[in-house]
Symmetry: C2
Subunit: 374 residues, 2 copies
Amino acid sequence: MKLTILKNKLNEGVKVVERISQKSLTLPILQNTLFTAEKNFLRLSSTNLESSIRWQGLAKVEKEGQICIPTKFLSSLIGSLPDKPIELEVKNLSLNLRCENFNTKIKGLSPEDFPIIPQPKEGKSVIINNADLCRALTQIINIPSPSNTRPEISGVYLSFHPDSIKMVATDSFRLAEKKIFLKTGLPKEYSLILPQTAAKEIIGVFGDREGDIRVYLSPNQVLFEYAADKVAQPRIEFTSRLVEGEYPDYQEIVPKEYHTETQVKKKDFLNQVKAASLFSGKINEVKISFNTKEGRVNIASQSPDLGEYDSFFKGKVKGQDVAISFNHRFLVEGISEINTDEVIFNLTNEDGPAALKPTGKSDYLYIIMPIKPS
Amino acid sequence: MKLTILKNKLNEGVKVVERISQKSLTLPILQNTLFTAEKNFLRLSSTNLESSIRWQGLAKVEKEGQICIPTKFLSSLIGSLPDKPIELEVKNLSLNLRCENFNTKIKGLSPEDFPIIPQPKEGKSVIINNADLCRALTQIINIPSPSNTRPEISGVYLSFHPDSIKMVATDSFRLAEKKIFLKTGLPKEYSLILPQTAAKEIIGVFGDREGDIRVYLSPNQVLFEYAADKVAQPRIEFTSRLVEGEYPDYQEIVPKEYHTETQVKKKDFLNQVKAASLFSGKINEVKISFNTKEGRVNIASQSPDLGEYDSFFKGKVKGQDVAISFNHRFLVEGISEINTDEVIFNLTNEDGPAALKPTGKSDYLYIIMPIKPS
């Protein structure tokens, strides 16, 4: 292998594949990046066996070939190099890297030891705006919690429809559903469960990029492909295995009707719950009372050690008066993800699910279970 | 105690005293801030027994008094409150805090249990520009390392002169001396050793403020007083105990003459040492060779596992050719603190001390010991 590539380009590629090239003591090859020089391209690949990334950028290739190089090491080294062309040449399982008057020889590993990265591009595919995808994932990504007994809810559920994609996450105390509207979706409904870590990496890898992502769907894998319009721009593929199992029919827990319907200022609600949270005890309980006659929401909490909190704010409250307790953390996380000035908070009763929504178009729904009255 | 104070002002005060109000399991009172309402002022005090902070701001005091309140708790609570006046009232060892429609009651502790904070203002004093002081401390603060056998070098040595203050730090592998020039210093030389943690807190507390600091010197304590010019601005006092013992006569290790004198671009030097550091082994060794005839500096390192580094850059080199090894970490830290485009690096011989300096006015000197040739 022998090629020349601009420092900035190589740096970008290494930063991308570095995200999942991890410290694996049982399989040290996973700490490496596979370099492949082919035609006019340099391809960098990394994998943690669950997910894989392939980055491909234009390079002046004199001789095709492959080698595995320690990723973190390479990343640190490139950071110290000047913004000049970098010459890479493989000799005897070492990579000679030259850049201006920098001259180094890096010991590598055999490319044959690197795991094969699947490229499942045969099945159906959908195109999504990249910013929409990453924004949606960001809104729900922190909800699932690792579960050995119920692995299927440890991931993010994606269901593809003719006009939209729904993304769902739950930890059984609360559930969030985020909808992305599409011009062209899938004619027939299709669903999958993406591992939470893969969803986080997708945000990290694609989050700042403009343009579209093509998602390839296959039975056990999903592939996200990004290719900037211009031919000189790099192509990035992110592949992940899927979580096995059946996602629960979450529509069942979405209430069909509400007994108390409220609309309040997001800022008021959030600040009051945050302040009240400081006085809550071990079970994180804050108590909310809705008063329809006065259009008033009261928030209270107390702790034998710290003191008491008892405050209120004004809002629109319709239906029945109700006093209900929530875990403040789940409430704060739900309210925070709403991007409108006001939030809709609808309740069934003191021990039934409640729903948080933005005002206006309904692309986000957050169902939260109360703390049962003792 | 009963008073009213603006939220932003109280918030500023709590953020200042919070810095040293720490989680102390043996003495829980240290997790608290002492509130003192007196005349037209609210005073907040915190201490970790080594250092203490007193913040004082204008408030509308209706009734004088004192109480101790958990600091972190208070700090979190204030963050959630609106930018409105806050009313504070002590009743039965609880603090009633009201702000717009926020209403809370915080359990406190008796002010009598709070340690007495010394205010050593009787001795000599010197006025220093605050930005100069903090910038100087920042340049040397990370050098000392905690030492049980030699506590005197675990701190920062301050020596006061008629026209300047010198600040010195060492860990016995390298030593930095930073000079601040003063219009009016102390007529007679005076010195003290400031604990490293106290020096860090001084940067944290005063770093962003404009104006001057008055430093009060007394045998076992030092007090840094900041008072913004306008009467409405808060006053801050930081007191620290001093490190006991005699600081070594560091002038002895500063070379009187050099056999090799060099001047190189800071950026070249820094990037090359950083790149070479990646290939260095366990003792962090990078080897530097100075060639007077070619005006060339060569940097090399190697590791049996990772590979080899061998590069050069151009610079002014006078005197004798020399090849010398350094710990790259100490070299990088020294070069990084120099703020001129070029650095002066003067050497005695391959096992003697070397000196790093900025070009131009000489207010910073960094002495570094080489790794002995094996």
